[in-house]
Amino acid sequence: MTSPLEQKIRITGPSIVTANRTFDGAVIYRTASNGWSTSLSEAAIVRTADEARALLTESVADDVGAVGPYIAPVEIKDGGKIKPGNLREHIRLKGVTIVLLPVPA
């Protein structure tokens, strides 16, 4: 398995770094202050391959706290609200797209 840092980094728009929290698997986003947040609104935005690489490097260094960091696209809406940039990230943020049937009493 090549480490994410060895892979070529290409950015096509605003991006973030995301991972899963080691102890419980929760979705986390890398912040601008060397930490992680479960809130997408607190994610650090990168716009160039160099910025992305730097953010990814510091994320990968936190092997204890986070598993499998990678770069993901986002959309920035008018007003600055950050939204997931593809279906996969939408599902990671919002949860499954399906409705689970309740069992009748």
Binding site: G25, A26, I91, G95, I98
Partner: protein, 551 residues
């Protein structure tokens, strides 16, 4: 049911303690993720899109009611109240916390359930026919051999770091309900001309990026030699399987690259060198394992009890009975399949409440035993026919009596992009929509046996290659698209499906399946010509025409 003894239980407990220590060392940083990942996989722990996933083994698909209740407990205590039964007779929980896993494993160990080797590059859950031990015409109970294999492959020091995963399946019936031809090693139990029990051994079956139907490597291996023969296969694979490319690392690729004859010769050489070794099974050992399987004390019951005669006037009961109830080898008893494919529901899921209620019903109607099938349904294997009407009412209350077993809405689907980080596209919503389109049971019965398999990516966990209709999710320019194949089958006449044309977008898949079904209904020779036989007779041409005429 196999009764774990103190030795089996000790091993499971030792494994739990080892994993507890490994989790501790991971969380403290003593183990890096790179060092830990394979260890957690070997305990069934994946990382999915939004949480860890925990895959628990249900060896050869057999559960006691006590064990099922414990699975319900795990669902409630450690997860979000439901579990998913898989195409390999395992159960998966999708929201588990790594830090709590050792406790969940300890709770499961108390009832003899484990998660050893349900993932990782090792030998996985040995699956079998979910009707083992109760199907008419079976040679003998294949679960005895499954258990021998399970023990032999568990924590095997030589084969815990194979080039890639390794899957076994065993059948003992003429009709293969275990899909042995799409496994790395498939075993068909039978008797030779001398009346001795042994196995036809097939190797190199498997789906994924390069699907292959398994090839016979040896038509008869005597029961006493099966472990040494399997060891020979595994040793050849361990040494020569490719490790340079994970997409070419399964044994099917080695068999394909060497050719079956050369591969068989390598195995034979290795086997002859080790043949009469400590792995040879003597009759006493086989009997020992056999004696740990307990069977119900069946009563002497009539073929047609009064209760059944009376209930025959109820058309809903009759519909369910004709669909979900199957012939048992003992007169007066039946095998009951429980569909986990309710209309609009995610296929193969069960809530903790359903599991608990089913455990009670198993105690009352099935000698406390439940089975899990690779088509993601459950079964009660020993139901006295006189109990069927009352059982049906109880199952219906908990939504386990949808009369769609083996029909078009009995869909096999992987979790797909809703859960899985490997997926390209979602599979569950496609399945849900299809169950809604074909919700009318009269229509479904008119169509007849039709297996739809959906995979969210080329790893093919939904077994789409061997679906009568196979649906494969792909990604095109950030959108979900689906390739459709038809004519596949997973049984003793296993075959891979054929692509009917270009991939179609998410919103059109259900329409395409309806078109395919309409084409079948128009083209079939007789009402009882199955879909898969019509495809065989006519090829994909007429179906392709119908589907792509307006697309």
């Amino acid at each position: 049911m196999y009764a774990y003894d103190e030795l089996d239980r000790t091993l499971i407990n030792e494994r739990v303690e080892e994993f507890r220590d490994q989790v501790k060392r991971r969380l403290s940083g003593e183990l890096t993720e790179d060092e830990f990942k394979m260890l957690r996989l070997q305990n069934g722990v994946y990382l999915q899109l939004h949480a860890y996933m925990f895959r628990i083994a249900i060896p050869y698909g057999t559960l006691s009611s006590k064990q099922l209740r414990r699975l319900a407990h795990v669902a409630r205590r450690y997860d979000r109240g439901y579990g998913h039964f898989t195409t390999r007779q395992n159960i998966q929980f999708n929201w588990i916390k790594l830090a709590e896993l050792p406790d969940a494993l300890a709770d499961l160990a108390e009832v003899g359930i484990h998660a050893m080797q349900t993932s990782g590059n090792n030998t996985r859950n040995v699956t079998s026919d979910q009707w083992a031990g109760v199907a008419p015409g079976e040679i003998e109970d294949p679960r005895i051999w499954s258990e021998l294999l399970r023990q032999y492959t568990t924590l095997h020091p030589e084969f815990s770091f194979l080039p890639r995963k390794f899957k076994f399946a065993i059948t003992a019936s003429a009709h293969d309900r275990a899909a042995i031809k799409i496994h790395d090693i498939g075993l068909r139990l039978h008797r030779n001309a001398q009346g001795e029990t042994g196995f036809e051994v097939l190797v190199g079956g498997g789906l994924g990026r390069t699907p292959f139907i398994g090839k016979t490597i040896k038509p008869f291996v005597h029961g006493r030699d099966i472990l040494s023969y399997v060891e020979a296969i595994l040793r050849v694979y361990n040494q020569y399987g490719r490790r340079d490319n994970i997409y070419k690392a399964r044994i099917k690729i080695l068999v394909h690259e060497l050719g079956i004859d050369k591969f068989a010769a390598e195995v034979e050489d290795e086997w002859l060198a080790m043949r009469d070794s400590a792995l040879t099974l003597d009759d006493a050992v086989i009997e020992e394992i056999r004696s740990r399987f307990s069977y119900p004390s069946y009563e002497n019951l009539p073929h047609m009890p009064e209760e059944l005669k009376k209930a025959a006037h109820d058309p809903l009961f009759e519909r369910w009975r004709k669909n979900s109830v199957f012939t048992h080898k003992i007169q007066g008893y039946a095998i009951v399949t429980l569909s986990l494919k309710p209309v609009g529901g995610p296929p193969g899921d069960a809530t903790a409440e359903q599991m608990d209620a089913l455990a009670d019903l198993a105690d009352k109607y099935s000698f406390g035993e439940i089975r899990v099938g690779h088509e993601q349904n459950l079964a009660l294997p020993h139901v006295a026919k006189r109990g069927l009407p009352a059982l049906w009412k109880a199952l219906d209350k908990i939504r386990l009596a949808t009369p769609n077993v083996n029909l078009v809405s009995d869909i096999i689907a992987c979790p797909g992009l809703d859960y899985c980080s490997l997926a390209n596209a979602r599979s569950i919503p496609i399945a849900q929509e299809l169950t809604r389109r074909f919700a009318n049971h009269d229509t479904a019965e008119l169509i007849g046996r039709l297996h739809i398999n959906i995979s969210g990516c080329i790893n093919a966990c939904g077994h789409h290659h061997v679906g009568h209709i196979g649906i494969l999710g792909v990604e095109k320019n950030g959108e979900e698209f689906y390739q459709i194949t038809i004519g596949g089958r997973a049984d003793e006449n296993a075959e891979l499906g054929v692509l009917i044309g270009p991939a179609v977008p998410y919103g059109e898949v259900a329409d395409v399946v309806e078109d395919i079904v309409e084409a079948y209904l128009a083209l079939r020779e007789r009402p009882d010509e199955l879909f898969v036989d019509t495809v065989k007779r006519l090829g994909v041409g007429p179906f392709r025409e119908r589907v792509y005429a307006t697309r």
